[in-house]
């Protein structure tokens, strides 16, 4: 009886929820059916109703921020003073730019590679040493040393800056609850705002070139650092805090000696995130004049050199994997403690070794030119040969027949009708459908947000383009479910394949997505299929990853119980493993949608008619207001999904007793 008493209200709420869902869907259906007789404003908001948001924002930026508050003078001072000084110093050391400390030559590549190898060995033994040293050797012998150093000289400033800002803000958010509440929504918006929206203000306030690139990178990379710092500090066990207090620590000592060391792991995970996001911006910041790997990649693509751009892509992946692995090794590595009386050269043996190899190769480079700089003619680049291979593969008749078929079927029968249908739906009905979705998946709060967000989108005047953006995202995520989930299920069957698949996922995620856009166009033309499929490549990764992690995370007792009760493999998968893995898979699904919103903007490079196209267009001008409005639209759509799915995953976890 007690059980029943508990479950009745639950059942009641479920029933009300269903009823609300039915009402919402019913209303949307009525609006659709009544479209011919609907008043115009329910179909599409009339132009006259749309407030000139962009102009207001432009006024805000131009008149208030720039002309009255002169914020731009402050930011320009920062960009041309301290920031440029730091960037100049790293650029002088790494690529020989004429700045302080005025070294004639940049550091020889062999010295840097050798020091990287020593650091790798210190952090993770021979394997890490090989990865770190090998990455630098690869960039040098492929003739990409200078551009890699251009990139790294900016990242060497942007990443520590992101770390510092993130740490301080994170501590502040942990200390003051009201500050935490204030920045939470801001961070959520920042993480869903398309990167083009960071780029334009960066140029206007921080001057085109490496300064703007560094700032945009920093802003993009900081949010996870803030979140991880706060999480880490909140988790510090009270016993440690007590011990610190008993030792009579001052507040500053408490922070630096007790809290931060105890939150070390989370903070270092934040550092790892900062580095990875910095690398994700390498290509994107090239749009605002950041030199280096990204700039070269775009130049190569614009002169149709697939092979060379592919090589640059490999370099970016290698650098990313190297920094990722090194920083992860650093997380795991605990501080070493030496016996009292150990001689200094043992205590500092790694630093000593690094100095020795650095000086050794520096000397060698003065004698043997090759160890100083690898000329373009000496490099092992096989770009031209690769071009031939790529073109030959794309030429195979069978491949062309298959892609031609896919293009026709998907475009003419699936995608274009789907897009037209979405565009046909009256705005009012569309908003109701989104609310119904958020209600069904997440419940009341997400539904309210969905209603507010999509109404805002309708009032920005970019409705059709927003719907087209959403169409690409939905199509891509649905398609990638058909690929990613089966792949994940297959890989999860053995530990070996899980590991392999996860490595493939890592690589695919760091590989600059711009590179596969060109082969995609060659296969499928400038069409919706190309746009959707290039998003699919990106969104399949989290689906596969979280399917594997969800399935591998199912408690063994559960699967054993299923085996004992004589379930077939199929039954076990469908009735035991998948339901238990669902909450984790939902996280992957959510991430896939976030990735899709990111990638759909990049797909403007192919040729689209959505928000991304307009965003790309604003980059060439100074329309800050329009740029911001477009960015917010993308962000609001992404947030709607994010809130609904996060809520759903949390509820499921609770219901299954997993969290």
């Amino acid at each position: 009886m007690a059980d029943l008493a508990v479950s009745t209200p639950a059942r009641d709420t479920a029933a009300t929820q269903d009823r609300v869902l039915q009402v919402l869907l019913g209303a949307a259906l009525v609006l659709c059916l009544a479209k011919p007789v609907l008043p115009d404003f329910l179909v599409r908001l009339p132009e006259a109703w749309i407030p000139p948001l962009a102009q207001w924002l432009d006024y805000f930026f131009n008149v208030i921020v720039i002309d009255t508050l002169h914020i731009n003078q402050l930011t320009r001072w920062f960009a041309e003073g301290p920031l440029e000084f730091l960037l100049g110093a790293t650029a002088n050391l790494l690529e020989g730019k004429y700045r302080w400390p005025y070294l004639d030559d940049p550091l020889p590549w062999s010295s840097i590679a050798a020091v990287a190898a020593v650091i790798g060995y210190y952090l993770g033994g021979w394997k890490m040493s090989l990865l770190a040293g090998g990455t630098f050797v690869w960039t040098a012998v492929m003739g990409q040393w200078e551009i890699t150093m251009e990139t790294l000289s900016v990242l060497a400033v942007a990443a520590p800056l992101g770390f510092a800002i993130g740490l301080v803000t994170g501590i502040a958010a942990w200390k003051w609850k009201s500050f935490d509440n204030a920045i939470k929504p801001l961070l959520a918006v920042m993480q869903t705002l398309p990167f083009y929206t960071y780029l334009l203000p960066a140029v206007i306030f921080f001057k085109v070139g490496p300064t703007a690139g560094a700032i945009a990178t920093t802003i993009y990379a900081t949010p996870p650092m803030i979140l991880m710092t706060t999480i880490g500090l909140k988790k510090v066990p009270p016993e440690i805090v007590e011990a610190g207090k008993m030792a009579g620590s001052t507040r500053w000592q408490m922070l630096t000696r007790v809290f931060i060391p105890s939150a070390r792991t989370e903070i270092l995970v934040g550092v790892n995130q900062v580095i990875m996001l910095c690398l994700a911006m390498v290509v994107l910041t090239a749009f605002i004049g950041m030199p280096g790997l990204g700039g070269k990649l775009l130049a190569m693509m614009n002169s149709f050199k697939l092979g060379r751009s592919f090589e640059i892509g490999i370099t970016i992946v290698l650098v990313a994997i190297m920094l990722d692995q090194l920083s992860k090794a650093w997380v795991v590595k605990l501080p070493e403690h030496h016996e009292r009386g150990t001689p200094w050269y043992i205590r500092h043996k790694y630093i000593l070794l690094a100095v020795v190899v650095f000086v050794g190769f520096f000397g060698l480079a003065q004698v043997v030119e090759y160890f100083d700089e690898v000329g373009r003619r000496q490099s092992l680049s096989v770009g031209r040969e690769m071009d031939k291979v790529i073109k030959w593969v794309l030429d195979i008749d069978l491949i062309q027949a298959i892609t031609g078929g896919i293009r026709y079927v998907l475009n003419v029968w699936v995608l274009i009708p789907f897009r037209n249908a979405l565009l046909w739906i009256p705005t009012s009905a569309f908003i109701l459908l989104m609310v119904a979705f958020a209600w069904g998946v997440g419940g009341k709060r997400p539904a309210i947000y969905a209603a507010v967000f999509f109404t805002i989108i309708a009032f920005t005047g970019w409705w059709d383009r927003s719907v087209i953006t959403l169409y690409s995202v939905i199509s891509a995520v649905i398609l990638s479910m058909f690929i990613g989930i089966p792949l994940g299920i297959f890989a999860a069957r053995s530990a070996k394949w899980s590991r392999r698949m996860l490595i493939i996922c890592d690589t695919a995620q760091t590989f600059p997505s711009f590179i596969y856009l060109l082969p995609a166009i060659m296969l499928f033309g400038v069409s919706d299929v190309t746009v959707v499929l290039s998003i699919v490549i990106f969104t399949t990764v989290p689906l596969t990853r979280y399917t594997i992690e969800g399935l591998r995370g199912v408690p063994p007792e559960m699967t054993e119980a299923a085996d004992m009760s004589g379930a077939t493999k199929r039954q076990k998968l469908l009735s035991v493993q998948l339901p238990l893995a669902m909450p984790t898979m939902a996280v992957g699904f959510n991430q896939a949608i976030m990735f899709a919103f990111f990638m759909v903007i990049i797909a403007a490079f192919i040729g689209t008619q959505d928000l991304g196209q307009e965003l790309q267009r604003t980059l060439a001008g100074t329309d800050l207001g329009k740029n911001f409005v477009l960015g917010i639209n993308v962000s609001l759509m992404a947030l709607t999904f994010d809130m609904a799915l996060t809520r759903w995953a949390a509820k499921r976890k609770e219901a299954l007793g997993l969290g």
Partner: protein
């Protein structure tokens, strides 16, 4: 860094020579913007190396090719070497009106941007390059999505090429689609290359693509001034954009107003510089076909064309 050493030794020698000139250039670096196409990058390095030989410090910064005029205006960069009439005329004029930059003279080269096809297309549609042949051939340019209409792949929307308007004004049976980037245009041509599929795309000259895929521009009704503002101009009395683009558009240099005072000698050189179509094509070829790095390509070009650029240098510098 052997290359730079040679250059800097040469620069040192020349710096003493320039000392005799009336006004000194500032020792602050002259910032030259580079964009994402080869000829402009090489040309910028050619001019940059000339400045270095005169004893100036030079720096390069990659910028967007439309946004650059705002940077020239503000003095963030000192000059712009390739102002294309068709592609950047509008941005240039806007910045000119706002003030801060000025026209530093034309190159000898002329530019052209228009509907274009690679040579193999002509086999399938022999009536080309006359635009009147386009409607007869519409079906050979059709794709899965366009039905029986032909596809014309226009440049990105922000290039403002009015392809759609022209197709309507001249009653062409074509779907006009905007590519998202120059790279997308090349991929489209590249995909058609192997089985010689006829394609119609937006293209321009001087451009590396001429060397990779020989082709021709479609000959539309000749451009008349006012074709974009006055419906009466051009064959269709009721429509704008019923002409081809100008076949001899200008290629200008632009300079920041402050350049004249800050680097008078470098400015003097800038006004004299004038490249021809052949020279620009040669610069692009060194990078796009011969695969030199832009700096090396500029070096080679300077070595091979001494008589050309030495004439532009100040008296003492050569």
């Amino acid at each position: 860094m052997k290359l730079t050493k040679i250059v800097s030794v040469a620069a040192l020698g020349l710096a003493t020579a320039t000392a005799s000139m009336a006004q000194e250039d500032s020792s602050e670096p002259i910032v030259i913007p580079i964009h994402n196409w080869s000829s402009q990058i090489v040309m910028s390095h050619v001019v940059g190396q000339m400045y270095e030989m005169m004893g100036n410090n030079v720096e390069f910064v990659t910028t967007d090719s439309q946004a650059v005029y705002e940077s020239v205006r503000l003095g963030d960069v000192a000059l712009e070497l390739e102002v294309w009439e068709g592609a950047f005329g509008a941005s240039f004029r806007t910045a000119l009106e706002k003030g801060g930059l000025h026209d530093a003279g034309d190159h000898d080269a002329v530019t052209r941007e228009d509907w274009w096809y690679p040579m193999w297309t002509k086999d399938a549609c022999p009536g080309l390059p006359d635009w009147k042949a386009l409607n007869d051939c519409a079906d050979i340019f059709a794709t899965a999505e366009t039905g029986d209409k032909g596809l014309f792949l226009d440049g990105p929307v922000d290039w403002l090429k009015h392809g759609k308007e022209r197709a309507e004004a001249l009653d062409l049976n074509y779907v006009v689609k905007n590519a998202g980037s120059a790279a997308a245009l090349w991929a489209h041509i590249g995909a058609a290359e192997s089985d010689k599929t006829p394609v119609l795309v937006f293209n321009w000259t001087p451009n590396f693509a001429e060397a990779v895929w020989p082709g021709e521009f479609v000959e539309f009704p000749e451009w008349e001034d006012g074709c974009d503002t006055d419906p009466a101009k051009g064959p269709n009395p009721d429509a704008l954009y019923d002409c081809g683009n100008p076949a001899d558009g200008y290629l200008k240099k632009a300079a920041w107003d402050g350049m004249k005072d800050k680097w008078p000698n470098a400015y003097e050189v800038l006004t004299k510089i004038s490249f021809t179509n052949a020279q620009i094509a040669e610069m692009a070829k060194l990078v796009d076909i011969d695969e030199y790095e832009p700096e090396e390509a500029a070096q080679i070009w300077l070595e091979e064309n001494e008589d050309v650029w030495k004439a532009w240098m100040p008296e003492g510098a050569t």
